[in-house]
Symmetry: C2
Subunit: 191 residues, 2 copies
DNA sequence: TACTGACCATTTTGTTCATATAGTCATTTT
DNA sequence: AAAATGACTATATGAACAAAATGGTCAGTA
């Protein structure tokens, strides 16, 4: 084959979604950037949403690789959680696509974007679940429901990073680590 | 005095806000229900928002009384937190005004309603802060920042009650209590 | 056979205009 | 004189309609 048209389309769409978001990206636009007839897009993708989904699938895979890369087998469970979540946050800030998507969710509430962000969140939770289970097996943390525990850890981080600063001065990465360590890992009770 | 016009207006407004929400309540409406000329409202309240604010102030005071009433000096700190948060949830479900308000926030995103809900949340956090400080003083929980700790406890409850059920079967009150106890109070580390 | 872009049915956006509403203030009531 | 009122005004809202844009199709082309 001369050119991989599917790849061209995926790249064009990723570019356009990154620049304009989901709603403001038109299929004509994508076709033009990809140097492809509009109809061609529909030979590879059922519709706009599926095209979007495939791009997000790629994004999730890439983030998984990043997460795996930031894992340090010599660190404690909580250190790994902290480092990886902070890495994911960095990733989000470095990539135009994620920036644009969270913007669009916030100010337009586009349904498809909401769904995609939900998918991303579930991917993270699922990934964490595996590591929580591992930590339990290794005896690093006590017996607990891995799904519920991942959920709690994740929500705690989100709250500390994004919600706390709505009414207070933002917490530094180290303050966050310390707070999670003291409240969630050690617990509030007196030992 | 023959009639307390300010009280009449407050009652009328509370009724209308409860029935129709903030946006859909008109000042003409309030004047009519209160049997008062519209201009009279503006002799007691600077504008619609301030009228709304005064009603919310009353709501917060009432909730505070409910919270105080549910406090049991013989119970543990966490038991009191749990019982009181659950009581506040009940209160929210029993009062048309709070129901309507959260509805309006969700489906219309009215700015004034957002602000008011934020005020309510801050009142709760502030109230909790006092009790956290007390628990520290009594040696019930370990030394920690009362503001940050209240925030964490509150957010954890909100997550477990409202967010968990977006993708899972809702947790029962007792499961929530147990989860908070095990994760936040005791901590995830092995003792 | 793979690809294309003119075409169509729907949605979205822009515009106009009548209605509704928050807030004012001259007048009336007490 | 003080308190209360409701007609009045400037602005905001939204209904109704028209125009433009857009997702998706399919007959035709290379």
């Amino acid at each position: 084959m001369a050119v991989d048209r599917k790849k061209l389309i995926l790249e064009a769409a990723a570019k356009s979604f990154s620049m304009f978001g989901y709603k403001a990206t038109t299929m004509d636009q994508v076709a033009k950037i990809a140097n492809v007839g509009k109809g061609t897009i529909y030979t590879f993708f059922k519709n706009k949403e599926q095209l979007f989904d495939e791009i997000i699938t790629g994004l999730i895979m890439e983030m998984k690789l990043e997460a795996d890369a930031s894992f340090d087998p010599n660190s404690t469970f909580m250190d790994n959680v902290h480092r990886t979540i902070m890495r994911m946050l960095e990733y989000r800030k470095e990539h135009q696509l994620t920036i644009k998507l969270f913007e669009e969710q916030k100010e337009m509430g586009t349904l498809e974007v909401k769904e995609v962000i939900n998918r991303l969140e579930n991917a993270i939770l699922n990934y964490m679940k595996g590591h929580v289970q591992e930590a339990i097996n290794k005896g690093e943390i006590k017996q607990c429901d891995p799904e519920l525990t991942s959920f709690i850890i994740f929500k705690l981080y989100i709250s500390l990073i994004f919600d706390w600063e709505k009414n207070h001065t933002p917490l530094q990465a180290e303050e966050i680590a310390l707070t999670v360590e003291r409240s969630l890992l050690e617990g509030l009770s007196i030992r």
